[in-house]
């Protein structure tokens, strides 16, 4: 695929599992190259020694492989034609459709000037009360599900995507199992919304290192729609743990000193570069937005591992799913879940009592958890304990379960109803003015 006048190098000096090195001149940092047709990127230059990271892995690359430098960084062709299409990590169609015609833009481009951002202020309603009531999402936010691999995070995410009122949904799938890939494809097709969905997919069948391109591809497309078409864009990234694992593989092959949990020392910056693409643009810049919902799978619920830990410091909250044995359903865990931007909309775009009701309910739910511990340790329960337990069960079923689909006002009304059913006003610790107005008599 060399064009006229492009120099072809044929002498590779070193090969590792993910990189190969050669002597070449006039090469730019981050530049793309092909090695026997496989796409690679410049990661290190020392004089005329060039190290290339080969995305598909170096299996079968001979020392006399043909290397051609392409003189550009990884890029994506963008236009309205992206809508409804499925692509691989290089931005090439995998759905049998024609190639995209459009403007070619570099992926992994520069950051938005922070003074050109607008404070997020639009609620994204999902109908799931465990999210809308306790952890309200806001456009321009970035938030991951912290989930164990056996939890139904992809289903919840697909639900959220379909219910959210957005112009485009961009799926970035990293290490998706083929089954999950087909699941997303079917759900989107059945909902009749394929035309507002763009997917970049790397399945477990594809080489791991290729995954590194997926978030940048998905976000380059998202920036195109948000900046140039002024659209509200929702980006789904699943699973970011597999992305980070790919980073670790590459840094390991490049002999970098690992920091915590064998992850590269730059993990925080690498993840931040992706998540910080979430943005709300002000009216004068068209008013578009990019919201990111991601998945970070945990190993045995351990959030102190470097991947969820660094993610938690970057994202604006996190959502946890948990199976509640009392009601036999998966719920959004109210203790550990958090949306940091919720106060920008709670009580402002929703009813005034939202923040206080949300906190009071969670506090009572915590009292129920304490009562449960007491019960398990064989102690007698007080009347208050028993009331908390009864409250918790109903609260869990009517509010926290992921199969709930109601609007926030209904959620608040349910909460007040449950307060009145089990408690006295002074036990819920809510501002008197709100109690006077909303207490169910």
């Amino acid at each position: 695929m060399a064009k006229a006048f492009q120099k072809i190098y044929t002498e590779i000096t070193a090969i590792t599992k993910a990189t190969c090195s050669l002597k070449a001149e006039g090469v730019g940092n981050d530049e793309l190259a092909t090695v026997n047709g496989k796409l690679a990127q410049v990661v290190k230059i020392m004089g005329n020694d060039i190290t290339l990271q080969v995305f598909q892995g170096t299996e079968g690359i001979p020392t006399n492989a043909e290397v051609v430098f392409l003189g550009k960084a990884p890029s994506l062709k963008v236009s309205d034609q992206l809508a409804g299409r499925f692509f691989n990590a290089y931005g090439d169609p995998i759905d049998g459709g024609p190639a995209i015609e459009g403007k070619e833009i570099e992926i992994g481009g520069p950051s938005v000037n922070p003074v050109r951002r607008k404070q997020p202020s639009e609620l994204i309603a999902t109908g799931i009360a465990g999210i809308d009531l306790n952890n309200t999402l806001v456009s321009g936010q970035k938030i991951p599900f912290f989930a164990d691999p056996d939890q139904p995070y992809n289903q919840v995410m697909a639900n959220v995507a379909l219910r959210a009122k957005v112009d485009k949904i961009i799926l970035g799938g990293m290490g998706l199992t083929n089954d999950d890939y087909l699941y997303f494809k079917n759900v989107f097709a059945n909902a009749g919304v394929l035309d507002r969905i763009v997917s970049f997919v790397n399945t477990t069948e594809n080489p791991a290192v290729e995954r590194l391109l997926i978030p940048d591809m998905a976000l380059a497309a998202a920036e195109y729609f948000a900046v140039e078409k002024h659209q509200q864009v929702l980006v789904l990234l699943t699973d970011m743990t597999l992305y980070a694992d790919a980073l670790a593989i590459v840094s390991n092959r490049m002999d970098q000193i690992p920091s915590k949990d064998s992850m590269p020392g730059s993990l925080y910056s690498d993840l931040a570069k992706i998540y910080e693409k979430a943005v709300q643009f002000p009216e004068e810049a068209g008013g578009g937005s990019i919201t990111i919902i991601a998945v970070t799978t945990l190993s045995g619920g351990d959030i102190t591992h470097a991947i969820p830990d660094n993610t938690g410091y970057i994202t604006e909250g996190q959502l946890y799913l948990r199976r509640d044995s009392d009601i036999g359903k998966v719920i959004v865990d109210p203790f550990r879940s958090l949306s940091r931007l919720k106060q920008l909309v709670a009580g402002k775009k929703t009813r005034e009592d939202h923040p206080q009701v949300m906190n009071a309910a969670v506090r009572l739910y915590a009292d129920a958890a304490n009562a449960k511990t007491k019960l398990e340790n064989g102690f007698d329960l007080t009347d208050y304990d028993n009331r908390c337990l009864a409250f918790a069960k109903e609260y869990s079923a009517q509010i926290l379960a992921i199969d709930v689909n109601i609007d926030t006002t209904q959620m608040l009304d349910i909460a007040w109803k449950l307060f009145a059913k089990y408690f006295k006003p002074e036990e819920v610790n809510i501002k008197q003015a709100l109690v006077d107005k909303y207490w169910v008599k």
């Binding site: 001149e25 006039g26 730019g28 940092n29 530049e31 990661v43 290190k44 230059i45 020392m46 960084a73 481009g109 520069p110 950051s111 938005v112 000037n113 922070p114 003074v115 050109r116 951002r117 607008k118 404070q119 997020p120 936010q141 000193i257 690992p258 920091s259 915590k260 020392g265 730059s266 925080y268 910056s269 931040a272 570069k273 910080e276 693409k277 643009f281 810049a285 102190t304 591992h305 470097a306 830990d309 660094n310 938690g312 410091y313 996190q318 203790f335 550990r336 958090l338 940091r340 931007l341 906190n359 506090r363 915590a366 007491k374 102690f379 007080t382 208050y384 610790n429 501002k431 008197q432």
Partner: protein, 585 residues
């Protein structure tokens, strides 16, 4: 000037072959096409100079031209810094064009055309030295002193000084003669290398004046002093940012500098959006008028993250030299440490714990040491109070950044996951946290004069109740509610009253968010009075129900305007309730 050529590139670490002398930390510019990228020398071996580039190195090639500047990274100091939003290298973010940051776009941080109303303070013939006040201009209603540049060594005589009037920052406002008879023109603007502390003051005593923040768990329980240092470590989701924002909004400082170092862009945007609207509770002027924001968010170039904390500190020291009280907040110092780690890693240095550089704790120590309360050479005082957040990996406080900081910071505000889970905000653990200033006799004396002669003893007794409450809670957890005497429940619930009424505070409630010191004293007196009494209860169920009602009334007081009708009504109700059960001595 020395020039060089690019020889190697790994991410933002570039090796340069040079043709002349270079200095450690010298600034250089690397040409890529039309743009020039700023870089800093971080290591020299023979003709090979290692520079860290403050921007993306995409497209950089071997052989690109590198020009050295002969100076270290400097900030420009002069009137007009307030209310601005800078990046870590002091570029004015508002002046940059376009939605996206373009690499290699740098600008002048001040306004060269603006006229400032200058009033001379020095007279012809005055003997002056570095940082002496020559005159002042009005900057957002604060006196901004025009000083003898910090780089001037020894004594000078004022040869001439301009009359009161309007001048631009680059106009000569005074001519100074040095001891050898040479004349030096002084303007309103000067430069200073960020990595060097400004030492133009007479002495640095121990801090002893309270810096009021309006946050009860700080001012009452673990106060920080003007010129003091403190740090807030906490796992994510424990309310570090909310607490920091509360302090930056409410603290009784003349100047607030916020260094957003490697954190979320939306958090800075919150400050950009709110500060121009919100009022400073002490002066009634807009918060933004006293604020400078240094934004180097997590997606901005990593190398300038390190620069951003030094840029902020240097600007803080500049305002301190004017006799002002400066509060510097850095969120988060862990991101700065990580930037150091990335660089050290690329230079293949032998790593210390968790792959951080070996000298990390020395670097942190030297930085915290730049804060302080000082007596200036003219006898006036000024202060830089520094509060840093730490984001410990995995919430584990036994990691290098937390440990390095703990050695040098005098206040420690431990945010606790468990408190956050139970929505007990601010989630500062009252027992693990500390303020070393409480142990200073000069601080105790200051507080006795300021608020109440028994203030610190009261605070101590409050902490004893909390400690006791915690111990009893553990016993109840082991022995069960009826395994301990009813008295124990009473003791435990007294500590809960302290927790709910004094320690917890609703940062999102208009009234409760800011609690002035006088109000803190009033509530502490009420709560301590509740604690001092004995009560008559028949069983433990009664205890919790009773104290929940007590807490409810106190909280309603916290939510009401101080001494308003509603406030007084709840106090009457509270007193009635207390009379029901209190045993009169």
């Amino acid at each position: 000037m020395t020039q060089g050529k690019v020889k190697g590139i790994i991410a933002n670490l570039v090796t340069v072959e040079v043709d002349g002398p270079v200095a450690q930390n010298e600034i250089a510019y690397i040409s890529v096409g039309e743009t020039k990228l700023m870089a800093e020398v971080i290591k020299v071996t023979g003709d090979n100079v290692f520079v860290q580039v403050f921007e993306s190195t995409r497209g950089l090639k071997v052989g690109n031209l590198v020009e050295f500047t002969g100076h270290m990274l400097e900030v420009t100091l002069g009137p007009g810094l307030l209310s601005r939003n800078y990046d870590g290298l002091q570029n004015d973010l508002d002046k940059l064009t376009g939605v996206f940051l373009k690499r290699g776009e740098y600008n002048y941080p001040l306004d060269k055309e603006k006229l400032w109303k200058f009033e001379p303070l020095a007279k012809v013939g005055d003997k002056v030295e570095a940082a002496a006040w020559l005159g002042e201009v009005d900057e957002n209603h604060q006196p901004h002193k025009i000083m003898v540049p910090f780089v001037f060594e020894g004594q000078y005589t004022v040869k001439s000084i301009v009359k009161a009037g309007e001048y631009r920052i680059e106009d000569t406002i005074a001519v100074l003669t040095d001891s050898e008879g040479n004349d030096h023109n002084v303007t309103m603007v000067q430069k200073w290398p960020v990595k060097k502390a400004i030492l133009a003051y007479k002495s640095k005593p121990r801090p002893f004046k309270l810096l009021e923040t309006g946050v009860r768990t700080i001012d009452t329980a673990n106060p920080i002093c003007e010129g003091g240092t403190g740090f807030i470590p906490g796992p994510f989701g424990t309310g570090k940012t909310v607490l920091q924002h509360a302090i930056s909004k409410q603290a009784e400082a003349d100047i607030v500098i916020i260094a957003a170092c490697g954190e979320r862009a939306n958090e800075v945007v919150e400050t950009f959006t709110e500060f121009p609207e919100l009022e400073d509770p002490h002066t009634g002027r807009k918060l933004m008028e006293r604020t400078i924001i240094i934004a180097n968010t997590s997606n901005m170039p990593v190398a300038s993250r390190e620069a951003s904390v030094y840029t902020s500190m240097t600007i803080a020291e500049y305002y301190r030299s004017m006799g002002l009280r400066v509060l510097l907040m850095a969120d988060s110092t862990s991101r700065w440490a990580q930037a150091l780690r990335e660089m050290s890693n690329r230079m293949e240095e032998l790593p210390g714990q968790d792959a951080f550089p070996m000298d990390l704790s020395a670097i942190i120590g030297a930085f915290y040491a730049r804060a302080g309360y000082v007596y200036l050479n003219n006898g006036k005082t000024g202060s830089v109070t520094f509060l840093g957040t730490v984001s410990p990996a995995g919430g584990n406080l036994k990691e290098p950044v937390t440990e390095g900081t703990k050695k040098v910071a005098r206040c420690f505000y431990a945010l606790e996951q468990n408190r956050a889970d139970h929505k007990r905000y601010p989630a500062v653990n009252p027992i693990d946290s500390y303020s070393k200033y409480i142990e200073y006799p000069e601080f105790e004396e200051y507080m006795a004069n300021l608020i109440d002669k028994d203030w610190l003893p009261k605070v101590n007794s409050m902490k004893t109740y909390l400690q006791r409450g915690k111990e009893i809670q553990e016993q109840i957890n082991i022995l069960g509610d009826d395994g301990v005497p009813v008295d124990y429940h009473e003791e435990f619930w007294k500590s809960e009253v302290i927790d709910f009424v004094i320690l917890q505070q609703d940062a999102f409630d208009k009234i409760d968010a800011v609690c002035p010191l006088e109000r803190q004293r009033y509530m502490l007196d009420i709560v301590m009075d509740i604690c001092r009494h004995d009560y008559s209860f028949d069983n433990f169920n009664e205890v919790s129900e009773y104290f929940k009602r007590v807490i409810n009334y106190c909280k309603q007081m916290n939510y009401s305007e101080f001494h308003s009708e509603t406030f007084e009504e709840y106090q009457v109700k509270l007193n009635e309730l207390l009379n029901e059960k209190q045993i009169k001595a």
